[in-house]
Symmetry: C7
Subunit: 95 residues, 7 copies
């Protein structure tokens, strides 16, 4: 079972889940993006996305920092969890 991302999408596997819930009332718009470290599992083909040419710049195996709120968590039948993001949600590669 394998995820093949479409367009400029990338399948990530989170390296560490460090979410600490903040107590108190959090009003919408005040949330800060939570950065996340992840390993790139699969990379879409890129191409013309929404009328604009997108060239993929990360590759499977890269460790990356991504902006969590933009992604979609996916749980496959083998109980593995992945995150699918657009390449523009990848902020930096960790070397």
């Amino acid at each position: 079972m394998k995820l093949v991302p479409l367009g400029d999408r990338i399948v990530l596997k989170q390296l560490e889940a460090e979410e600490t819930t903040k107590s108190g009332i959090v009003l919408p718009g005040q949330n800060k993006e939570k950065p996340q470290q992840a390993e790139v599992i699969a990379v879409g083909p890129g191409g013309v996305i929404d009328g604009k040419e997108v060239k993929m710049e990360v590759k499977a195996g890269d460790k990356v920092i991504y902006s969590k709120y933009a992604g979609t968590e996916v749980k496959l039948d083998d109980d593995q969890e992945y995150i699918i993001v657009k390449q523009s949600d990848v902020l930096a590669v960790i070397e």
Copy 2:
């Protein structure tokens, strides 16, 4: 009775309905997209959509992960339920 999607739309049939309602007050903007597995039933012709050329990249029979909040649920007279999404709401093909 058959659904023929327009433009870059795709008719999906959900593979599993795993929605678990979260208790408590959910404020707008804090909802995360719920990923969904579905089978592609029908695919629109693509073409120039909103001034941009869209090439359809999935085909009937594909199993896909899609972003649920973007879709529209449709219940036909034969009590079958479908979801109509744009191709850009399909995140990945499952192989």
Copy 3:
């Protein structure tokens, strides 16, 4: 008395009115689009709409699924009710 839609607009006549009011407080942004079946009554000429070429792909007599929230309900003097939508709000043709 006849409605002649402008641009990429389409005049629809609803096939079934199945709106069931949900009790409780519904917060804005949590509403899902309610799909609707309708018959196409009249179709605008299409052409350059908002700077983009739009070709009309449905025709009078088609039964369609449309996304309700985008439309405008119109009640003419003869007490007939219509809905005017843009073609992009038509999701699929029912065959």
Copy 4:
């Protein structure tokens, strides 16, 4: 005293004012557009509006359905009330 609309704007005179106030609390975003019948009083020259060529397709004397929320009510010194809308807010011509 005469209103000469700029760009793609149109001066309308409402044919019937059928606004019935709904009781209860109306939350923002839940309001549906209220369609309106009006007579076209004056039509702007069209041309390049916001970088896009707009050709005017209605003319003075036309009876039209327009989308009310987009318009601006104007009361001139002679106590006549008009509504100024953009042509894209005109949904259909009534024939």
Copy 5:
């Protein structure tokens, strides 16, 4: 002391201040634009504004209807009050 507007901006002097405060709670998004009559005092040079060619179509001395919420009130040292709007906020010229 003189205001020289930049780009597609226009300096207006209000002809009548007919604001009547409505009592009660006004929820955001329910406010209607309040039309305003004003005299054009100064007109910017136009040109390429936000990547689009804008040709100025009003001139000093014109009486115009403008959409108030878009403008900015300016009080100069000589206690004169002006409103600076973009030309696209001018709805019509009064003749």
Copy 6:
């Protein structure tokens, strides 16, 4: 110590700080832009900003009216306070 603005940004020094706090509950979206008089301290190079050519039209020493909400206040180590705005937030030059 000197601020060199990037792109179409401009460094301003406020001429008068006339902010008077309004009492009562202010709901978001009801705030009007507060115009401000300032002196231009430094001007960015302009050029292609967000895909559009921007030509700088103000120069150091100009007195300008700007739209406050768009700017960012900056306090340098020498306790001088500046405001950095984009040129499109400058409404008019005062002569």
Copy 7:
């Protein structure tokens, strides 16, 4: 361990953390951007970002003022904290 930013992104290291929490209820939309001084640590390659050519204009070692709300805080395993912003969030270089 090194962060290599993608596209038009820039890795910053904050020079001073002067955040003072304001008491009272802060409604969304009323927050002002908090400017920040930072040192540029790494600069992405630029290129065509979202269909628009972006040329990088800051370099590692520059001291800059940036608009905080747009950035993403990143904490690496060596406990160093960085902020990743787009170049358009850099307001000015401090010389």
